[in-house]
């Protein structure tokens, strides 16, 4: 789990886009850990949200993830 979280954070810090879909996150993790299951990746991402490291960004219809403090950081 810790390894997964580390890979997710690395991706969130370095990805070109500051907000990304779960699928992008999944691909980034599976590029480094091909056996990682999406359910486990989701659990790791949820833990990172609960730890305040990742944030959700929602348009209402779609939800994206982002690194707290990177890109849009205010309410808007």
């Amino acid at each position: 789990m810790e390894e997964l979280k580390k890979i997710i954070l690395e991706f969130a810090e370095t990805s070109k886009k500051t907000k990304f879909y779960f699928k992008d996150l999944e691909k980034a993790v599976q590029a480094k850990m091909p056996d990682a299951k999406s359910r486990e990746i989701k659990k790791a991402a949820t833990e990172l949200v609960n730890e305040g490291k990742l944030i959700y960004f929602s348009t209402g219809s779609t939800t994206m993830y982002g690194l707290k403090g990177r890109g849009i950081t205010e309410d808007q």
Binding site: K23, T46, N50, Y56, S58, G60, T62, I72
Partner: protein, 472 residues
């Protein structure tokens, strides 16, 4: 079967949780309302009040006056928020475009849905709606409420929000329209701790499942829609609150093919109650309908004289599969041909009833017109039993999710994925054999590609031999 909650249910006592006194709730007179003007000129909106129907503008003005007359400190959001809401809408009417921006990093801790950020793009003109976030509240199954709960919710939203509701959004949630970022966590706390109610789904989540009124009040219900809806809602809490889907996913449960929640048109996973035995017929009641002793359609459509009930014209000739006939004074139905249109049962509910071996038909892939246009659902499983704990339904649903999460593109609905990959691929995924009824015109549809293993005996094909006889 009696309702068995998965966790203790809280009884809401309005007197214990109320925020406003009776005087505060009834703090203006109709005379005051007549003379009341909001702080912006809204002639275009006021025009909407002139029609024969009740107008949201009239309701909003009441709310604006009510808030204006509350004492300072009795609302946590600006008192003139409704004035600014109407003012901005008038501006949008005049400009012919919206002045709302939506989306952003707002939410409650740990939840990826349930809150949708809304911001005005003209906050200098309408400062009270500069932040005007929406919350979705998970409605109870079939939208049954006690008045105490509704009153408590109204008080909470008056105090911490705009006081403006939408009962209900098209997914089914109660929509609380307009609050500030600071109020989100307090609202969530009060909603869950005081009112024992959760937020609903939004974004790339499972959206709040919804169901028709079901066995609570409807004799046609073939399944306990409320129980199934509650079970799916509680079982899939993680999918509802923590987004990991490519896009939205809606589940709706209709108790019978009349489809009162229109699951066939509005949900990615549509469960429709049905039966696989025979329509029950009470021949004596059939005769009573023919003799005019029982009103057809349970007395509906009786606003004008339709003449004497004619079973041939009004029922038998309207059967879409022509599977009914009167023989020797008795109504006969060829049940194998019945396609569950419900017309005969609706017209003669005392004489005809759904069968007793009941379950669900499962249809997939409906959606409203965002990317590729509106699409009705496709029948995937003609019949499946639907009994607690519904493991068979969950197993199918999870197979579909797994495939969609693997193969679906970002912002691609299940119905679009099935279109892109083809129905045969989808049927392989869910392990259901193809049936001719799944193809609208089986003999003319050219898009059927047989695999060698599908055809008894297979085939041999030598492309070189073929090319010798057929030049490119």
């Amino acid at each position: 079967m009696a309702f068995a909650p998965k966790r203790p249910q809280k009884e809401i006592n309005y007197e214990e949780v109320r925020i406003y006194t009776e005087e505060e709730l009834h703090n203006y007179t109709e005379e005051e309302l007549k003379n009341f003007k909001i702080k912006h000129d809204i002639p275009a909106l006021e025009d909407l009040e002139k029609g024969p129907w009740p107008s949201f503008v009239a309701d909003a003005k009441r709310e604006a006056l009510h808030r204006k007359k509350l004492a300072e400190g009795r609302t946590m959001v600006d008192k003139d928020v409704v004035d600014d809401l109407l003012g901005q809408l008038e501006l949008s009417f005049n400009d012919g475009e919206t002045h709302w921006k939506h989306g952003g990093i707002v939410g409650v801790f740990g939840y990826g849905g349930g809150v949708i950020g809304r911001y005005s793009d003209v906050p200098e003109k309408f400062p009270s709606v500069a932040h005007f976030h929406t919350l979705r509240v998970n409605q109870p199954a079939s939208k049954f409420y006690k008045t105490g709960f509704l009153r408590a919710l109204c008080d909470l939203w008056e105090y911490r929000g705009s006081g403006v509701f939408n009962m209900h959004g098209s997914t089914g949630d109660i929509i609380l329209l307009g609050t500030t970022t600071e109020q989100l966590e307090p609202i969530f706390y009060d909603l869950t701790h005081e009112l024992d109610q959760d937020l609903g789904g939004s974004g790339s989540n499972l959206r709040t499942p919804s169901c028709c009124i079901g066995k609570a009040r409807c004799e046609f219900a073939c399944i306990d829609t409320q129980d199934l809806c509650y079970e799916l809602t509680m079982h899939y809490q993680d999918e509802l609150h923590r987004p990991a889907f490519p896009y939205k996913f809606k589940i709706k449960v209709d108790g019978c093919p009349n489809g009162c929640v229109a699951s066939i048109a509005r949900s990615d996973f549509s469960l429709i109650g049905t039966w696989r035995d025979n329509i029950r017929i009470d021949q004596e009641a059939v005769k009573a309908y023919i003799a005019g002793e029982i009103k057809p359609n349970a007395g509906a459509h009786s606003g004008r004289d339709w003449g004497k009930f004619d079973i041939q014209k009004e029922v038998i000739d309207l059967c879409p599969t022509g599977c009914m006939a009167m023989e020797d004074g008795e109504l006969k139905i060829n049940n194998a041909e019945c396609n569950r249109c419900m017309h005969c049962i609706n017209v003669m509910p005392r004489a005809l009833r759904p069968g007793t071996d009941t379950g669900v038909s499962i249809l997939v892939g409906a959606k409203a017109p965002i990317l590729e246009g509106a699409q009705l659902a496709t029948l995937a499983v003609p019949f499946m039993k639907a009994e607690p704990p519904y493991d068979n339904i969950k197993e199918l649903l999870e197979k579909i999710w797994e495939w969609w999460m693997e193969e679906g593109k970002n912002r691609e609905r299940l119905g679009e994925l099935i279109q892109r990959k083809g129905l045969p691929r989808f049927l392989e995924v869910i392990g259901v054999p193809a049936a001719p009824q799944m193809v609208k015109m089986p003999r003319t549809n050219p898009y059927i590609f047989w695999k060698e293993e599908d055809v008894p005996g297979g085939w041999k094909r030598d492309i070189k031999d073929y090319r010798m006889r057929h030049k490119r």
